[in-house]
Point group: C2
Chain length 241, copies 2
DNA sequence: CGTATATTTGATATCAATCAATACTCGTGG
DNA sequence: CCACGAGTATTGATTGATATCAAATATACG
């Protein structure tokens, strides 16, 4: 019997809003899946047959322009949903940047479940609202922040996210490459690297190899980021009604 | 009796998914409201007591940084919802840029209605998904497009939106100022102006005073925008399941 | 009409992109 | 265990797109 032991306790996800029967019903229509690092398992424009709920690992969600320019719209982790579609085709591409495990739902079956369990719909609405607010923060970052502010905001948001998931907020783990960070923040690899170096020189951070950052002066980092409200997750109702 | 005669027929909104009884129930908890141009009726951080559904006019939704930098995250029109909150306070500010009429819902009452009419929840989920996809397109624009591409994309998206609302797609109406456009596209007033002038010089557009643009060469504009998929609105289920 | 506001246009500055090496990391096999 | 190599990151020099600063027009509104 498939329960949700793999859904991390603090993660804001579908499972923790359902009772045992409902979980069983949910489990009956989902299958576990695993992707190697580097696997692109959702391609923008392809038929959107499945919906995924990550249980471990990190995924980059991105859109490409015709000439290859890439904008990463988010890094997805355990608890996050993937597979938003527009007119039956995926609205973005998704690539595993670490090995990933997830639950796969087939759309027709999920459709039925939605009618059976309105709770799930509410939960999804809450998740969508959270994503929407994160998207708005990212628009502020991309439209109006300097490279320095972007990097500081990024580190803080990764740290907050780790804490929310019950992990230490420091040091910050960076499973993605500098290029991925650049594609997420609307910068280039070189600018990301230079900015890290600069913050290191000011003793605000310490680089732990290529995939870790130790925050040495949190106050300074918050100051640099331009202290917008730190992100938080609430019950769906908080956002809508 | 309050019906939805003011909800524009082609607009993707709550009312057209409900039957007469449900509409009446909805009407019973909402009140009409009007705002003059220039009125800021939602302030980021203020207690989020109300939710608004626009019936006419245009509203800019924005976030401010501490030093006054502004990012407009969207222009809202008839059918759109306003009042997203985070922990009981509004997540953004909203200012009418033309005279605006809207329906106001008080949260506690709306909360009850949600439990009564799950349809509304599904409709809201669909709206949220559409907004999320628009937000992702905007991230691509802000993170990776040139000023020229941003202006072209903006004009096309306003045109599409007008068509979807049953209005002519050309000429494009621009109720907002150059400064608003700049704050939406992550540019400055001057760059917006220069880019309009440039496109006019290439006979791609024709400026009709300060608040109108005639698209003279649609193909060229699409080409400049970098032809991502044109936006479209679908049934909520299309996006989720 | 005249005044305030919004827009356009011009000159210059600047931040980040680009182009170009160099250095580091990490996995692999000798 | 170390050397190699491919990918990844850093650093440097220069360019370039857009911001900034500064007038000059145009538009809208009382």
């Amino acid at each position: 019997m498939h329960t949700c032991e793999h859904c991390e306790a603090r993660s804001f996800n579908m499972c923790n809003a359902l009772d045992a029967d409902e979980l069983a019903r949910l489990a009956s229509i989902m299958s576990d899946q695993r992707f190697e690092a580097g696997t692109t398992f959702i391609e923008e424009g392809a038929p959107a047959d499945d919906l995924f709920n990550l249980t471990s690992g990190t995924v980059k969600v991105f859109k490409l322009l015709a000439d290859g320019r890439c904008q990463i719209t988010g890094f997805m982790m355990a608890g996050d949903f993937l597979g938003l579609s527009r007119g039956g085709t995926y609205a973005y591409s998704a690539t595993a940047i670490t090995p990933v495990t997830c639950c796969r739902f087939q759309r027709p079956q999920l459709r039925g479940l939605f009618n059976e369990l309105p709770k799930i719909e509410r939960q999804m609405l809450g998740l969508a609202m959270n994503e929407l607010m994160a998207a708005q923060d990212q628009m502020v970052l991309l439209g109006r922040k300097t490279a320095r502010e972007r990097i500081a905001s990024f580190l803080l948001s990764l740290s907050d996210r780790a804490v929310r998931r019950g992990r230490p907020g420091n040091p910050v783990e960076l499973p993605m490459t500098r290029g991925d960070i650049a594609d997420y923040l609307g910068l280039t690899t070189e600018t990301v690297s230079r900015t890290f170096t600069q913050l290191k020189g000011e003793a605000v951070i310490l680089l732990k190899g290529n995939h870790g950052v130790d925050i040495q002066d949190l106050d300074a980092l918050v100051e640099i980021a331009g202290q917008e409200d730190r992100e938080a997750c609430f019950h769906p109702f908080d956002q809508i009604a």
